[in-house]
């Protein structure tokens, strides 16, 4: 702020210095005074240059501090809300914080220094002028704000047109992006002339809107020349007459010319500042509204006791949901076939406590009474809507960084994802950008499965994990999932897991109880598959068929096919109808 003031003031007094130079040095032909005052001008130039950049540096710091802090608090709030966020706030509102609100808040802070500088500068110039000549000072002090205010009248129509223009411009960019993103469709089946025509129409509309802005701006540009020009002419005229009468020196005459031209700038800053601060305030309110959202699922008062104790005693427990009648043994590869897809989502969310309904229990502890953090550490819900973030493929698949190469290879094998990695020249070191947009739907699904397997939770709930992969690959995944849960291979898998954990322990010297449990207790990994794919269902130890939120039958896939016609209809729907037809 200090530098903002200094910057403005050094500009404000510059005309005075030039005037003094003329009076003291030039007209009197006094070379000592001339040099002295010329040096003052140079000194002011230095002060202006130095304070200008220091002001800018501070203003940028203010701007960035505001923007960065906003992103940080919003990020922290978002991760704290987790699955609640999409239910409470439109994603667009949160992203708008990143794209526009942080700038508005930043600009508001950024302007404060210049604004203060402007106010001080106006005061300084006013003081100097009034001291030198009251009538002239008054002309400038009244004339400049009045005329600047008149210019301000042009600002409203300008802002209106600019707003129209920006909306149209956003739409046109949207149209171009739309064309670029959907070009495959357009080039594939046609519609280019229609789109080219629509784009041209909107482009011309934008051109007219832009021209309308230009027209108003041209008025403003003209006013910016006319108003100070007329004031200057007026001041010069009056000053010249005073000078003629001997009331003013010639240097003062030149200085007044300078003051009148200078004053327009701080006055504009004043108007700009008022606008920016208002907008910054509105943006800040939007941010605060997001920060006020409460999480949907929270710990019950006094839940669980000490976390570690419950965790250790609970490892390897059955998962029971009385409401639906679902009972899953520890270490089981269990499948649930629901008559309706929506039921599957609901049930999966309940089992992983992504929503509080029913009274599911893990071992003898109801999930609802367990600390939420512990529920998340023990039960994983992996869905097709899950996202990847930007980062190396390895760290995206194993965010904890605790898994050994061997474990990662095993998980990739189970998810039948080796071919994806083979196609990447840099394999696991490939950077994943844009949430993995470079991968196809089927590839992403397999990579999601790898990540879910590597999370190695006590219970893993997978919802339609193979819906986008081809039958060949699906068969392979089903077989390998079954293999990894088969009693005979569990010992072998365990050895690999042990080795991996030990390595991870050494590397990162993790002392958390979770890792410790991984070594001491047998990790009986339970997997619950929500699916209607016969290939996956066939690989499960047991299958539960669910209708209207209740388990209707439990057995192997083949048993159910034989005994439960409705189940058979759901998993091979349409087959029999067709064969009859």
């Amino acid at each position: 702020m200090f530098f903002g003031i200094m910057w403005m003031v050094s500009q404000a007094v510059l005309p005075a210095a030039v005037g003094r130079t003329i009076d003291a040095g030039v007209t009197t032909k006094n070379s000592a005074e001339l040099i002295r005052w010329a040096l003052v001008v140079v000194g002011l130039a230095l002060a202006k240059a130095a304070s200008g950049i220091l002001r800018h540096r501070n203003a940028l710091s203010n701007f960035l501090a505001a923007a960065y802090t906003t992103v940080q608090v919003i990020t922290r709030k978002t991760v704290a809300l987790g699955a609640t966020l999409p239910k409470r706030v439109a994603a667009g509102d949160v992203v708008a914080v990143g794209t526009s609100d942080i700038n508005e808040i930043g600009h508001a802070l950024d302007i404060t220094a210049r604004l203060t500088g402007a106010i001080v500068a106006i005061g300084t110039v006013a003081a100097i002028m009034l001291a030198e000549s009251v009538p002239l000072g008054l002309i400038v002090l009244i004339g400049v704000p009045v005329l600047t205010g008149l210019t301000g009248l042009l600002l409203k129509p300008l802002h209106d047109r600019q707003r129209t223009y920006r909306v149209l411009q956003g739409e046109l960019t949207g149209r171009a992006v739309d064309i670029a993103a959907g070009l495959r469709v357009l080039r594939g089946i046609g519609g280019e002339p229609a789109f080219a025509g629509r784009y041209r129409r909107e482009s011309q509309e934008l051109r007219h809107a832009a021209f309308a802005v230009t027209r108003v701006e041209s008025g403003l540009a003209a006013a910016e020349i006319m108003l100070p020009g007329l004031i200057t002419a007026g001041v010069t005229f009056v000053a010249a007459r005073f000078a003629l009468d001997g009331h003013l020196t010639i240097g003062q005459l030149v200085a007044f010319y300078g003051y009148a031209t200078f004053l327009a700038a701080p006055l504009r800053t004043l108007m700009e500042g008022a606008d920016l601060i208002t907008r910054g305030h509105v943006a800040a309110r939007r941010v605060v509204r997001i920060l006020n959202v409460e999480p949907g699922i929270r710990d019950v008062e006094g839940a669980g006791g000490t976390e570690g104790a419950v965790l250790v005693s609970g490892r390897g427990s059955t998962l029971v949901d009385e409401e639906s009648g679902l009972e899953v043994e520890a270490g089981e590869l269990f499948a649930v076939a629901c008559a309706e897809p929506a039921e599957a989502d609901l049930l999966a969310e309940r089992l992983a406590r992504f929503e509080d309904s029913g009274r599911p229990m893990l071992g003898d502890v109801p999930l609802r009474e367990m600390p939420l953090r512990q529920v998340r550490e023990r039960i994983l819900l992996a869905r097709n809507s899950d996202k990847f973030f930007n980062g190396g493929l390895r760290s995206e698949l194993d965010p904890t960084g605790r898994r050994a190469d061997e474990e990662i290879r095993t998980a990739i094998r189970v998810a039948s994802a080796q071919d994806i990695l083979d196609a990447l020249p840099e394999g696991l070191d490939t950077e994943m950008t844009d949430g993995g947009r470079e991968f196809s739907g089927g590839q992403l699904q397999r990579l999601r499965l790898v990540r879910a397997l590597l999370a190695r939770r006590e219970v893993t709930v997978l919802v339609e994990p193979t819906s986008a992969v081809d039958a060949h690959t699906e068969a392979r995944i089903a077989a390998r999932l079954a293999e990894s849960h088969a009693p005979a291979t569990r010992g072998a898998a365990l050895v690999a897991v042990h080795a991996g954990t030990v390595v991870a322990m050494k590397v990162s010297s993790l002392s958390s109880h979770v890792a410790a449990v991984g070594i001491e207790a047998e990790p009986q990994t339970t997997t619950i598959l929500f699916t209607t794919s016969p290939l996956l269902l066939d690989s499960a130890h047991r299958v539960a068929y669910v209708e209207d939120g209740r388990v209707v039958a439990v057995g192997t896939h083949r048993e159910l096919l034989a005994s439960e016609p409705r189940y058979a209809a759901v998993v091979t729907r349409g087959e029999d109808i067709e064969e009859a037809a």
Binding site: K29, P86, V95, T232, H472, G574
Partner: protein
């Protein structure tokens, strides 16, 4: 998958294009320059008149003389005001016209990109060009170009005026030219990269926030909270580094510039004072030159300020023009499609990158009206074969011909009437549901036909439930359709386009398996008589087809009807058994 980057024009082509663009509107351009020149000349009267007033005061001239000078001052201000206004309007007209031409030509070029390029290059590069580059160019053409133009005109005239008043005093300007030139050059060499990095870093943290928001549920499920926070902090730190860098550039540039703008004033005063003492210059000359020099610094500052925007604009223009440089991927051949419209591939080999074939001599004939399914593990070459059968790419060796005419030699318009490929990639255009359906259908297609198409893909239900039916805005800015709905919409669009051969590459993969099956059944009824080649990941599609090809390692491993393949007891039969659960046995290892 490896998105290939589209070409970029070189600087010579960019300059030629800019010249052409100006040459298209010579009148507007000349008027703009003329008006600005006149306005600048009018603006130069001010300091000179002030100089005269100073002189008059000193020589104790009459009040009438002072009045006349002040009157002239006001008159010139009004003249400059008027001229500036018209110059501004004229420049605005010129800028908006060429900008509109530029972006329209770009979009036309994009819409004419060869089919194979479109399928191969990811949309990312094109989207960036359509948004960021067009925007950068807008700033350049609409703001930077006219401002620089005015600045250059004003600088030139001010220099002339200064020299006319006093060549001697003009020397004070010359001392700051070398440092200004050096520091600006130093800055411009680094600025473009610096600002591009700064923007990219800012985009990264905004995107990072977007990813965190979109993946909020995933973050909770996998316990990624700390990781996302750290990642955001990293991105912000990266942005801070980029900001620091450009700030360090400005820290050098700005003080030097600001200092250099004022120093000539002091120089003019010193030199003027000395010259006045010696009688080489009048007081009027000293005053006028001092004020001219003060005035000169304004356009100079403007000019230097906009130089880097112009630089960025030039780079963006190069990327926009580059789109036009993609060579066409097909030349029309002489042969017409003959009936029967049999789609035949003979000894087809194909490589995306030189020397690495993904298809190894495929022979295949699809009969008119046939339901043909392709199954096989991912990466076996099914999609590639599908693209060749749809005429997107030409084979490296061998031919793919429809009714005897090689597909790659058909003009695009004709090809579309014959074969269309639909992949699982879908896109809902911003517009109404009707707009989206009408893409491929002639205008005379009525709503009834649209509804029929929607019904055929099981979308009639949800479409009828939309608040405004066919007039509901969808896509970006409108109602967001779910992925399965978008896929249904793509299929309905395809039905309306009504080609004779349809290549469906997992075109129903995003639908619930049961819904997909139902959709395929109803589709099949509508497509009676059309040839359908379906690349399927679900076996019921194969089961329902007339013939099935099992593609493995770029070859057709098995070919025949579902029944025949089951009887043959090969890989397909094993897969089917385990899928269908008819026979007990070990899970297949395919």
């Amino acid at each position: 998958m490896t998105a290939r980057i589209l070409p970029v024009a070189d600087s010579r082509q960019v300059r030629r294009y800019v010249r052409e663009l100006i040459a298209r509107h010579p009148r507007t351009f000349a008027t703009t320059i003329a008006l600005y020149t006149l306005a600048a000349v009018a603006g130069l009267a001010g300091p000179r008149l002030l100089g005269d007033i100073v002189q008059a005061v000193q020589q104790h001239a009459t009040i009438g003389h002072i009045n006349a000078l002040a009157g002239a001052l006001a008159a010139f201000v009004l003249l400059q005001t008027t001229l500036t206004r018209y110059a501004y309007v004229s420049a605005g007209r010129f800028g908006t016209i060429i900008l509109a031409e530029l972006r329209e030509e770009f979009v036309e070029k994009v819409l004419a990109l060869p089919l194979s390029t479109v399928e191969n290059a990811g949309s990312g590069d094109l989207v960036t060009r359509a948004s960021r580059d067009v925007d950068a160019l807008r700033r350049s053409a609409q703001m930077a170009a006219p401002e620089t133009l005015v600045a250059i005109v004003t600088i030139a005239l001010t220099v002339i005026a200064t020299v006319l008043v006093s060549p001697l005093l003009f020397l004070s300007v010359l001392i700051v030219i070398p440092p200004l030139f050096a520091v600006t050059r130093w800055y411009l060499r680094r600025a473009t990269d610096g600002y591009l990095r700064e923007n990219a870093a800012a985009a990264r943290y905004v995107d990072g926030l977007g990813a965190t928001v979109a993946g909020a549920a995933t973050i909770e499920a996998f316990g990624l909270q700390q990781r996302r926070i750290e990642s955001a902090d990293d991105e912000l730190a990266g942005s801070y580094r980029a900001e620091r860098y450009t700030l360090s550039l400005r820290t050098v540039l700005w003080p030097v510039q600001e200092f250099c703008y004022v120093v000539p004033v002091a120089g003019a005063l010193l030199l003027g004072g000395y010259a006045y003492t010696r009688g080489w210059a009048s007081l009027a000359q000293v005053t006028a030159v001092t004020l001219y020099i003060q005035q000169l610094m304004i356009p100079l500052e403007v000019l230097l300020d906009w130089l880097d925007t112009l630089q960025v604009g030039g780079a963006s223009l190069a990327r926009l023009l580059g789109v036009a440089q993609v060579p066409p991927d097909r030349t029309a051949g002489a042969r017409a499609v003959a009936d029967p419209r049999e789609l035949a591939g003979t000894d087809v080999r194909f490589a995306y990158v030189g020397g690495h074939d993904v298809l190894h001599g495929v022979d295949l004939t699809v009969r008119p009206g046939e339901r043909f399914a392709m199954v096989g593990p991912s990466g076996a070459g099914k999609s590639t074969l599908g693209r060749l059968l749809a005429g997107i790419h030409g084979p490296r060796t061998g031919t793919v011909a429809l009714g005897g005419a090689p597909l790659i030699e058909l003009p695009l318009d004709e090809l579309r009437g014959e074969v269309v490929l639909l992949t699982q990639d879908h896109h809902v255009f911003a517009g109404t549901l009707r707009d989206n359906l009408h893409l491929a259908a002639p205008d005379e297609v009525d709503d009834e036909a649209l509804w029929q198409a929607l019904d055929a893909v099981d979308a009639g239900g949800w479409a009828a439930a939309l608040p405004e039916g066919l007039d509901t805005p969808v896509g970006s800015g409108g109602l967001a359709l779910s992925a399965p709905q978008a896929q249904q919409l793509a299929l309905a669009r395809l039905l309306l386009a009504d080609p004779k051969v349809l290549v469906l590459d997992e075109a129903t993969s995003l639908l619930d398996p049961r819904a997909a099956r139902h959709l395929e059944r109803s589709l099949s009824a509508v497509l009676e008589g059309r040839t359908v080649i379906a690349i399927a990941h679900r076996l019921h599609t194969a089961h329902d087809a007339d013939r099935v090809a099992v593609v493995e390692d770029g070859r057709i491993a098995e070919l025949g009807s579902h029944r025949e393949l089951i009887d043959a007891n090969g890989a397909y039969a094993r897969l089917w058994d385990s899928w269908h659960g008819e026979t007990a046995g070990t899970p297949p290892h395919v």
